[in-house]
């Protein structure tokens, strides 16, 4: 049908469906000849996809939207017909910050409102003492990590642009940066949170599923122009990823072994399995925490790209001043997520119930009322 495909990915657990699709032969069974190319930065993945060196890519969902809107870089319309992962991130803090937060905590330590209010008190105390502002690491300006951190801290009254420092760090540098005091906390995907805990230098404060019930994390992305020219190959790729996602949910052990290989994610299979199981060690003292919602790959309709997810991400871009609000841009953002392609390729008839955002603060999100969403929050860079 089409020539060989080159697909870029970043070594993270949420590239699982793509990696398993290729390594278990699901893409070959669909008649596709796929080469996976391991990359080091989201900028590289985006650029190589944009200029046609990649046919498809494992991409941060907000990057697919930003690329289609032409913010932060050149404008290249992107199509996302498959959600590679929902959720999957966590917020990890240094033992010192953890102790400070616990000392100020009123309420449940897994309640993000309680921790956000504690953070606000820690921030205020530091300012009063003339200490440096706290520094938080995240992975990219257009990343779910960035928006999750901001959403959480702003709910407690902390202005992410004024009261703390938010810095981009490549995921492989996160743990080092936490160890040597360059950052006090970070929000990143697997396996980096677990690695910090295993080294005894971090506590997982929150799974991001504490903050949002469902957040689109990574998507399978192709250029709109490529999708238009290769509809059959795209459908085949979506089907192969779908089969892989099902396989992963049925066999965490084998999936973890495939993903652990040196040319794929190249970390211990046990750490990957913990992520897939949603059972993570959260403290150096050995405390484990379990959540079936930690990372969704294929379960609960997670693979179907829901436009409301794109709308929420766009609303965050507006809230934090990355782009002005416009009806047209909202529609463009929502148009990036293509459940129609997913449904046609996999034979799914109806939404599998993945249409809620479920944030812990603010009113329920609706794509029909982005202004209402923005007005509900005091802190933000958006002005009506």
């Amino acid at each position: 049908m089409t020539g060989p495909l080159r697909i870029g990915f970043i070594p993270l657990v949420d590239a699982a469906a793509l990696i398993v699709a290729v390594d278990k032969g699901f893409t070959a069974a669909e008649g596709l000849d796929v080469t996976l190319v391991r990359e080091v930065s989201w900028s590289n993945v985006r650029d190589k996809l944009n200029i046609g060196l990649f046919d498809a890519a494992h991409l941060l969902a907000p990057v697919a939207i930003a690329s289609s809107l032409g913010i932060g870089h050149v404008k290249v319309p992107i199509v996302a017909p498959f959600n590679l992962g929902v959720n999957g991130n966590a917020i990890t803090v240094t033992p010192a910050l953890h102790a400070a937060l616990m000392a100020e905590l009123e309420g449940d330590r897994f309640d993000p409102m309680a921790t956000a209010l504690a953070l606000a008190r820690v921030v205020a105390a530091r300012r009063k003492a003339g200490a440096e502002p706290l520094t938080f690491g995240m992975t990219f300006p257009f990343s779910t990590h960035n928006y999750q951190l901001r959403f959480w801290m702003a709910a407690g009254g902390v202005d992410p642009d004024e009261d703390v420092r938010l810095v981009v760090l490549p995921p492989p540098y996160m743990v080092d940066s936490l160890a040597n005091g360059h950052v006090d906390a970070f929000c990143v995907g697997a396996p980096w949170n677990s690695i910090a805990v295993d080294l005894g230098i971090g506590h997982i404060l929150h799974f991001v599923s504490d903050i949002l019930v469902r957040a689109a994390e990574k998507v399978l992305a192709v250029r709109q122009s490529w999708a238009d020219k290769n509809p059959d190959a795209l459908a085949a790729l979506v089907r192969a990823c779908g089969r892989a996602a099902d396989f992963i949910e049925q066999s965490h052990v084998e999936a973890a072994q495939i993903l652990a290989k040196p040319e794929r994610i190249d970390v211990d299979a046990e750490v990957i399995k913990r992520t897939l199981d949603g059972r993570l060690k959260i403290s150096p003292d050995g405390t484990f925490r379990e959540s079936p919602r930690y990372l969704l790959v294929g379960r609960e309709g997670a693979a179907r790209p829901e436009p409301i997810q794109a709308a929420w991400l766009y609303a965050q871009m507006v809230r934090w001043g990355q782009i002005p609000l416009s009806e047209e841009a909202l529609n463009t953002a929502m148009g990036v997520f293509r459940p129609d392609i997913y449904d046609a390729a996999t034979g799914t008839a109806a939404p599998a119930g993945g249409a809620e955002i479920g944030a812990f603060a603010g009113p329920a999100f609706s794509a029909d009322d982005v202004i209402g969403h923005l007005r509900a929050f005091k802190i933000g860079r958006w002005r009506a």
Binding site: V40, S41, W42, S43, N44, D47, K48, I51, G52, L53, G72, H73, V74, K75, T139, F140, P141, V167, V168, L169, P170, P171, P172, Y173, D176, S177, N180, H182, Q322
Partner: protein
């Protein structure tokens, strides 16, 4: 050359050899304000302090994403502009990505002024990867010679061959099997290891 004519160029590269090759090329071309950065910790702070007009970074550097943030936080740099050359110049972008280099214009430098810098970087990056390929080839040729010498030694000892005869046998076997002499020599080494 006045400061106006020579933009300040920061090279971000973890390979000291490549960075040196790049710096030398840029200096030869008359760009006097070239600074190399190899330390990735605190990269953003270094770059703010240096306040460059152009940043050249290798694509295999994970810190590329850190620079992207710079273009988002507009108050930190004076006039953050797009990266690469110009979004209409697809050929330059492609050439640059394929060579493994990315240039960021920080201070509103005109397209005509960034173009020669980027072109030079692309050719230097290509020269560097050619150099590296050659180094790899030389290394593997050396490796082959060592293996062949050891295989010859084994044949001489076991078969009572002269060095010349041992080499002729290796070569004729390689020709018959349509393999490299090095591969045949390696299989002799492996076999003799197993038969020990």
């Amino acid at each position: 050359m006045s400061a106006e004519q020579s933009p300040k160029i920061v090279i971000v590269d973890e390979s000291p050899i490549r960075a040196a090759i790049l710096e030398e090329g840029l200096r030869e071309a008359g760009f006097t304000g070239v600074v190399r950065v190899s330390e990735m910790q605190g990269l953003l702070a270094r770059i703010y302090a240096l306040d460059p007009d152009v940043i050249v970074i290798d694509l295999e550097n994970p810190s590329r994403d850190v620079l992207e943030q710079m273009f988002q936080v507009s108050r930190a740099v004076r006039r953050p502009i797009a990266m690469f050359v110009d979004q209409s110049d697809a050929a330059s972008i492609q050439a640059s990505v394929e060579a493994g280099v990315s240039a960021y214009i920080v201070d509103g430098l005109k397209k005509e002024r960034i173009k020669p810098i980027l072109d030079l970087c692309i050719s230097r990056f290509n020269a560097f990867s050619k150099l590296q390929d050659e180094l790899e080839r030389t290394k593997s040729a050396l490796e082959d010679r060592k293996v062949i010498d050891r295989a010859k030694g084994i044949l001489m000892k076991m078969k009572g061959f002269t060095e010349e005869e041992a080499y002729v046998l290796l070569r004729s076997t390689a020709m018959r099997e349509k393999k490299k002499i090095g591969e045949i020599a390696q299989s002799i080494l492996t076999a003799s290891e197993m038969l020990k």
